[in-house]
C-alpha cells in the first residue's frame, strides 16, 4: 500500500505537565496526538509506580505525535520548552504512515 515518510515523536512526561505539553504541541502546529497511560518507571529521580500514589503528583503519561518530517524541529522546540525543567524523555523514530494527507 501507499505509505509516506513521517516522524514518530514519543514524549514521556509527568501527568501534571500533560495539558501544558499538548497546548505547546498545538501551538507548534501539530495536527494530532495520542496519549497512553504509564504504569510506572525508573530514572535518575528514582523509581515510581502507579500503585504507590495517593496523588497525581507522581504519575506520568506518554504523548505520541506523528508528524511530517519538515515539522519536526518546530515540534521539538515547542516540546522542549515545556519539558526542559521537568523530568521526562523525548524520542524520535522514523516511520511510514498510511493516509498521509491527515498529518
Amino acid at each position: 500500500m501507499q505509505t509516506h515518510k513521517a516522524k514518530r515523536v514519543e514524549i514521556t512526561i509527568e501527568a501534571v505537565m500533560q495539558s501544558r505539553l499538548t497546548d505547546a504541541l498545538k501551538d507548534a502546529g501539530v495536527t494530532g496526538y495520542t496519549i497512553l497511560p504509564v504504569l510506572g518507571g525508573s530514572g535518575r529521580s528514582g523509581e515510581w509506580s502507579r500503585a504507590g500514589q495517593v496523588s497525581r503528583a507522581q504519575g506520568m503519561a506518554q504523548v505520541i505525535c506523528i508528524i511530517q518530517p519538515e515539522r519536526l524541529d518546530a515540534l521539538l522546540e515547542g516540546a522542549f520548552a515545556v519539558v526542559e525543567r521537568h523530568i521526562g524523555v523525548v524520542t524520535v523514530t522514523d516511520c511510514d504512515v498510511l493516509r498521509a494527507e491527515r498529518f
Binding site: 509527568e14 501534571v16 505537565m17 501544558r20 529521580s45 528514582g46 523509581e47 502507579r50 500503585a51 504507590g52 500514589q53 495517593v54 496523588s55 497525581r56 503528583a57 507522581q58 525543567r85 521537568h86 523530568i87
Partner: protein, 326 residues
C-alpha cells in the same frame, strides 16, 4: 494525662488505625497487596462527598454566624503563615536547599483531609460535637500555603515567574476542593431532608470505607518509607514530628480566640498540624520541579501523617478538651 493515654489507646486499637498499620507492614514486607488506583480514587471521592455533605447539613441546622466567616479568614491566615515558620525551622534543623525547604514548607501550611476525617471520627466516637463548617475551613486552608512558599522562593530571587494564571486556576479548582465545597453546599441546601435520603450511603458505611482507604494510605506510606529512606536524615524526620506540634499550638490559639467548641478547637489543631500530600505535591511538581519529591512526599505521608493519625489526634483532642473545659 490519663485521659490522653486512654484516648490514645482506644484510638490505636481502632479498626481504622490497625488497617493503616496493616498497610504499612504489608508494604515494608514487600507484599504485592495493592488497592487499584481507581478504587482508591473512588473511595477518596466518597469520603470527600460524605464529609462535605454532612458539614453542610450541620451548618443548615445550626445556622450561619459571624464565627464562620472569621474561622475561614483565620484558617487562610494560618495556612499562609505556617510555611514561614516551617521554612525557618527547616533552615535551622536540616541541610535542605532553599528550594526543597520551601516545597516542604508549603505542605505544612496546607492540610490533609484524611487526617481531618480521622479526627472527626475520633470526636464522634468520644461524643464531642464540633462546628459543621470546619470542613469549609479545611477547604480554605488548602491553597494559601502554596502561594506563601512560592513567595519565599521568588524572594530568594533565583528566577522569578513560578506562578501563572493556569497554575492558579489548577490550585483553586483542584478536584478535592471543588468536591468538598460542592458537597458542603449541597448538604447546606438540602439539609436534614437531603441527608435522610442518602444517609445509608454516606453515614453508615463511612467508617468501613475509611478503614480500606487507610489501608491504602498505609501501603503508600510504607512504600514511600522503603524507597525514600535515604533522603530521610534525622533532622528532617525530627522536623516532621516537631512541625505538627507547633502547628497544633497555633491552631489551638486561633480556635480559643474564636471561641469555638471543644471539637472545633481540636479540628483547628488537627488542620494546622496536618500536612498536604495531594494538592500541594502536584502544584510543587509544576512550580518547583527542581525540588525533590521524595523528600516532601516521604515526610508528609511517611512521618507526619502516621504521627498525627496515631498520637497527634488523641493529644490534640485531649488538650482541646482540657482547655475548653469540654
Amino acid at each position: 494525662m490519663d485521659q490522653i493515654l486512654s484516648l490514645a489507646a482506644t484510638n490505636l486499637l481502632s479498626p481504622i488505625i490497625l488497617s493503616f498499620v496493616l498497610g504499612v507492614i504489608a508494604a515494608l514486607a514487600r507484599s504485592d497487596l495493592s488497592i487499584p488506583e481507581a478504587v482508591a480514587k473512588g473511595m477518596s471521592i466518597y469520603l470527600l462527598f460524605a464529609i462535605g455533605f454532612k458539614g453542610g447539613v450541620s451548618v443548615a441546622s445550626h445556622g450561619v454566624d459571624l464565627t464562620l466567616a472569621l474561622s475561614l479568614i483565620a484558617g487562610m491566615a494560618l495556612s499562609a503563615l505556617l510555611p514561614l515558620i516551617a521554612f525557618s525551622l527547616l533552615q535551622i534543623m536540616t541541610g535542605l536547599s532553599r528550594l526543597d525547604a520551601a516545597a516542604v514548607a508549603a505542605h505544612y501550611g496546607s492540610i490533609s483531609i484524611v487526617t481531618f476525617v480521622a479526627a472527626t471520627s475520633v470526636l464522634q466516637s468520644s461524643g464531642i460535637a464540633s462546628e459543621g463548617y470546619m470542613v469549609a475551613v479545611a477547604a480554605a486552608m488548602e491553597a494559601p500555603a502554596i502561594l506563601s512558599a512560592l513567595w519565599l522562593i521568588s524572594r530568594g530571587g533565583s528566577d522569578a515567574r513560578r506562578m501563572d494564571g493556569e497554575l492558579m486556576r489548577e490550585i483553586m479548582l483542584n478536584g478535592s476542593i471543588v468536591l468538598l465545597v460542592g458537597a458542603f453546599f449541597i448538604g447546606g441546601i438540602t439539609g436534614a431532608d437531603g441527608l435522610a435520603k442518602i444517609e445509608s450511603f454516606i453515614v453508615s458505611p463511612f467508617q468501613g470505607v475509611l478503614c480500606l482507604f487507610l489501608l491504602d494510605m498505609g501501603l503508600v506510606a510504607g512504600r514511600g518509607l522503603r524507597g525514600g529512606g535515604q533522603v530521610m536524615k534525622p533532622g528532617v524526620i525530627a522536623f516532621g514530628i516537631l512541625m505538627p506540634l507547633i502547628g497544633s499550638v497555633a491552631g489551638l490559639g486561633v480556635g480559643l480566640l474564636l471561641g469555638l467548641s471543644t471539637g472545633g478547637v481540636a479540628l483547628f489543631m488537627v488542620l494546622s498540624a496536618s500536612a498536604s500530600y495531594i494538592a500541594v505535591p502536584a502544584a510543587m511538581r509544576v512550580a518547583l520541579p527542581e525540588a525533590n519529591p521524595s523528600i516532601y512526599l516521604t515526610l508528609s505521608l511517611g512521618v507526619t501523617f502516621p504521627f498525627n493519625l496515631t498520637l497527634g489526634i488523641p493529644l490534640y483532642v485531649a488538650v482541646a478538651s482540657a482547655l475548653t473545659g469540654g
